[in-house]
């Protein structure tokens, strides 16, 4: 698995976002067990305390559940996962729209472009 870490923001935030993306994309199924902090930290080549913080963030976001003995699992609340997935998609679309508008396209142009693109695929 690949981890992309940039210089401008705290590492734990980036780790937490990338874990969230994996969960909403179904790479870690709802209710399944997540790898341990140590395993994930070794895989990403980061400090275990940093990974710990990233996973705590997943818990407060409602994507992961901590069990006393069995480590962490992905939440079984598929509605919550879907809500976060939807929010992420909206965010990506928002970024796309502002980028294309910056090129001078109108709403109608953009819809036309998207349809063309769809036909190409």
């Amino acid at each position: 698995m690949d981890w992309i870490l940039t210089d401008d923001r705290p590492i734990w935030m980036q780790l937490s976002e990338q874990m969230a993306r994996r969960i909403v994309a179904g790479q870690y199924a709802p209710g399944s067990k997540l790898p341990s902090v140590r395993e994930l930290a070794a895989d990403a080549g980061v400090n275990p305390n940093t990974m710990q913080r990233a996973l705590s963030q997943l818990e407060s976001d409602g994507l992961a559940v901590a069990n006393r003995t069995a480590g962490r699992t992905v939440t079984e609340d598929t509605a919550a996962i879907e809500a976060i997935r939807h929010r992420m998609a909206r965010q990506v679309i928002g970024e796309f729209l502002s980028a294309v508008r910056a090129l001078g396209y109108t709403r109608e142009d953009i819809i036309k472009l998207l349809k063309e693109e769809e036909n190409h695929e």
């Binding site: 870490l5 210089d7 401008d8 923001r9 705290p10 590492i11 734990w12 140590r38 930290a41 070794a42 990403a44 080549g45 980061v46 400090n47 275990p48 305390n49 940093t50 913080r53």
Partner: protein
Amino acid sequence: MSDLLIQSSHLTKTFGHKAALRDVTCSIGRGRIVGLLGPNGSGKTTFIKILCGLLQPTAGTLAVDGEPVGLHSKAIISYLPDRMYFADWMKATDLFDLFQDFYADFDRQKAAEMCRSLGVEPRDRLKTMSKGTKEKVQLVMVMARKAQLYLLDEPIAGVDPAARDFILNTILTNYNEAGTVLLSTHLISDVERVLDEALFLRQGEIILHNSVDNIRESEGKSVDSLFREMFRAVPMEGGRF
């Protein structure tokens, strides 16, 4: 057991009229990986040597695990010096014997396993090994102890970038979780991901001590970029001469 593993108060070390450390006051907790960062000659090695009792401070006090540097601190510190100190006729297995005698916390089985995963044959004599392999052996000896404090002086300076990642991963996956790792380096971008805290030294003084995440959050840039900015100003001071 004291909460703080290292407590340094107004620590100063001078060599003749030259000050290597000036009024260093800091505390470091347990279970942390701390980067001791600074350009050449900023006092990194001096600080580490005082911690392991190889140098006596000129002034100030230092406590490790709540006690002054001495028998207790030496038993709980695992030190990787910046140079090789083993006799070259020895085999890694001879070193295992030596460490088993000297340190109650040395885990021989772990050392053998680490040698295997690092691709080192423990029955080879040190003098037949390449420089990089010798460094790996030295790292194995240090990390196979279940120490409270690992002092690593430039653990990645002499190896190629691929081996660097390998060594950092070895440190990450092998340090005792309740223990603290203090590692000195000037190769910040390579170690930044593994650090909890960064401690910047300049001309023997601490100029910054904060968590890596806090630095990134407040500065909006990596510790490496911040370091480059802070130390870019240094050549200007040469104008005084």
